[in-house]
Amino acid sequence: MNEPEIDLRGASDYKDRAFAKMTAGAAGVVLLILGLIAMTITRRSLPVFHEMGLGFFTTKRWSPPDSLFGALPFVWGTVFTAAIALLIAVPISLGVALFMTQVAPPRLGKPLVYLIDLLAGVPSVVFGLWGVLVLSQHFDLGRSFLTAGIILAIMIIPIITSLSREVIDTTPPGDKEGALAMGTTRWEMITETVLPHSAGGLVGAVMLGLGRAMGETIAAALVIGSALGQMTVRPLAPGNSMPAVIANEWGEAQDLHKSALIALAVTLFAMTILVNLIATGIVQRSMKRGQGT
C-alpha cells in the first residue's frame, strides 16, 4: 500500500525541484543584472580615470577636444535641479496626499487617484517636448536649471504623492478619532497624529522622488540648456546635469569622450543606488511599524 505513495512523491519531488530551481534562477536574474551593470560600465569608464584620476570629480572644465573631463559642474547641476524639483514637488505632493486621505470624501478621492496615475502615465519625453516648446518660451524661463527643476517636479509629484498616501493611510484611525474627540481642528489632528506617525515613510517617499529626479534624463536633456561649466546658484542660468550631458553628447563622442560619459553614468548609478538604498530601507521599516501598531 505504501509503495505507490512513495513512487508518486519521488516523481513529483524531482519535477518540483527542477521547477523550484528554475524560478530561483529567474529571481537571481535581478542580482545578475545589477552585478553586471556595476561591473561592465565601471570597466568601460576606467580609461578616463587613468587619464584624469580622481580629478574627474573635482575638475571644473569639460573640454573633449583637449581630453579634459571634469564632472564637477554636472554633478552640481544634477544636485541643483533635483533640489529645485524637490522644493516644488514636496509641499504640493504632501498637500495632495493629505487632501486625498484627510479631507476629500471618497467620491472625490477616486478621481484624484486617476489624476495622479494619469500624470504618472505621461511619457517623460512628452513632458520634455512641452517644456522646450511651450513652458520655456511662454513664461520667459528659457532653458535653465529652473525650467528643468519645474519639469522634474511635475514628473516626481505622482510617485511622492502615491507613496505618501500609502504611508499616511497606515495611521491608526483610533489615533485620529482620539485627537478629534479632544476637540482639535483637522490641521491639529494632522500635525499631532498623522505626521508624527508617518514621518519616516514620508522621508523615504521624498528620497525615492529625489532618486527619480537625479536619474531622469530625457526631459532634463531637452530643457536644461546644455551650458558647459556652469557652477552657479542662479536658477535662470542655463546649465547641465549628468544624464543630460550623456544623452546630448553621446552622438558625437569618440573613445575617451565616450569613456568619460560612461564614467558619468557610473557616478549617477552610484548616487541613485545610494539614495534608493536609504529610501527603501526607511520606507520598509516604517511600513512594518505601521502594520505592527
Partner: protein
C-alpha cells in the same frame, strides 16, 4: 450659554472668564485649519494645471499634424530632410511596437517566474529577501544607465537593433513585473493551495494550474502598466536602437527607431515641420500608453467584480 452651564459645575466665578477666552482661541485655530485645508486644495489645482496644459498642448498641436496628413502620418516613412513639411511616423510606430513587444516577451515570463520563487518557495529565506530588496533598488536605477549597460554588453558586439532597445526596456520592466506579481500572489487565498495539495497535486502543478490562473488578471494588469511605462521610455533606446527613417521589420538587425526617439530628436529642431512631427508623434505615443493603461484598468475592474 451652555458653556456657562458646564463650567457651573466647577468653581463658579473663575470659569466664566475662561469661556470667552476659549472661543477667541478656537476661532484662530479653526482659521488656521481652514487655511491649511485651502492650501491642500491649492496643491491639487497645482497638480491639475500642468497636466491639463500638457495634454491640451499634445492634443491641439498633435491633432494638427496627424489630421493634416491622415492616414499618411501613421503610414509614411519619416522625411530624411528635417525641414520638409508633411507626414510620416510609420517606422517609429512599428519600432516602438517591436521594441516594447520584445521587451514584454522577455520581462514578463522572467518576472512572473521570479515572483513565484519569492512568494511560493523562498518566502523568508535570505536569498529571496535579498532579491526582493535588490528588485526594489533596481526600480530606481536611471533608465539611461540601463541603456548604457546594454550598449556596453550588447550593442558593441551585435550593433544597433530594436532588440537591443528591447533588452534595455526589459531590464527596466523586470523589477516592476516582479513586484506586481508578488502582490497578486499574496492575494491568492491559501485554501486554494491546500485544496490542491489535498487531492495529491504536486507543488509545481499547483502553482501552474491553481495559483497562477487565480492571480492571472492581476498579473496581466500589473504587467500592462509596466508595458505602458516602457513604451514611453527614450533613454534606454538612445544607445541601443540607433536612428532610422525607414521601415525595419526585423528586430534583430540594423538600426531602428521609435516614437520617443523621434520626439526627442525633433523637439530641439528649429524647423517647424520637424516640431510638428514631434507633436504628432507625442500624440500617438500618449494615445498608445493611455490605451494600454485603460486595458489594464479594465482587466483590474473585471477581476475586482469577479472576486
Amino acid at each position: 450659554m451652555s458653556a456657562v452651564g458646564i463650567s457651573a459645575g466647577a468653581t463658579e466665578t473663575a470659569e466664566i472668564f475662561v469661556v470667552p477666552d476659549l472661543t477667541a482661541k478656537r476661532s484662530w485655530r479653526s482659521v488656521k485649519s481652514a487655511i491649511m485645508t485651502s492650501l491642500m486644495i491649492a496643491s491639487v489645482i497645482a497638480v491639475a494645471v500642468p497636466l491639463v496644459a500638457v495634454i491640451w498642448a499634445v492634443f491641439a498641436r498633435g491633432l494638427q499634424a496627424v489630421v493634416h496628413g491622415f492616414p499618411a502620418f501613421f503610414v509614411d516613412e519619416i522625411p530624411v530632410i528635417a525641414r520638409r513639411p508633411g507626414p510620416g511616423m510609420g517606422p517609429a510606430i512599428v519600432g516602438t511596437l517591436l521594441a516594447t513587444g520584445a521587451a514584454t516577451l522577455i520581462a514578463v515570463p522572467l518576472g512572473v517566474a521570479g515572483a513565484v520563487y519569492l512568494h511560493e518557495y523562498g518566502v523568508k529565506n535570505r536569498f529571496s529577501r535579498l532579491v526582493r530588496f535588490m528588485a526594489n533598488v533596481m526600480t530606481g536605477v536611471p533608465s539611461i544607465v540601463m541603456g548604457l549597460f546594454i550598449y556596453v554588453t550588447w550593442t558593441l558586439r551585435f550593433g544597433y537593433s530594436a532588440f537591443g532597445g528591447a533588452l534595455a526596456l526589459a531590464c527596466l520592466m523586470l523589477p516592476v513585473v516582479i513586484g506586481a506579481t508578488e502582490q497578486m500572489l499574496k492575494l491568492v487565498p491559501n485554501h486554494l493551495r491546500e485544496a490542491s495539495y489535498a487531492v495529491g497535486t504536486s507543488k509545481s502543478r499547483t502553482i501552474m494550474s491553481v495559483v497562477l490562473p487565480a492571480a492571472l488578471p492581476g498579473i496581466v494588469s500589473g504587467s500592462l502598466l509596466a508595458v505602458a511605462r516602457a513604451a514611453g521610455e527614450t533613454a534606454p533606446l538612445l544607445f541601443a536602437t540607433g536612428a532610422a527613417t525607414e521601415y525595419n521589420l526585423n528586430p534583430f538587425v540594423e538600426a531602428n527607431t521609435a516614437l520617443s526617439l523621434q520626439i526627442f530628436g525633433n523637439a530641439t529642431s528649429s524647423f517647424v515641420a520637424a516640431q510638428d512631427r514631434a507633436w504628432g508623434a507625442a500624440l500617438t505615443l500618449v494615445l498608445l500608453t493611455f490605451l494600454i493603461t485603460l486595458v489594464a484598468r479594465f482587466v483590474t475592474a473585471r477581476f475586482a467584480r469577479r472576486r
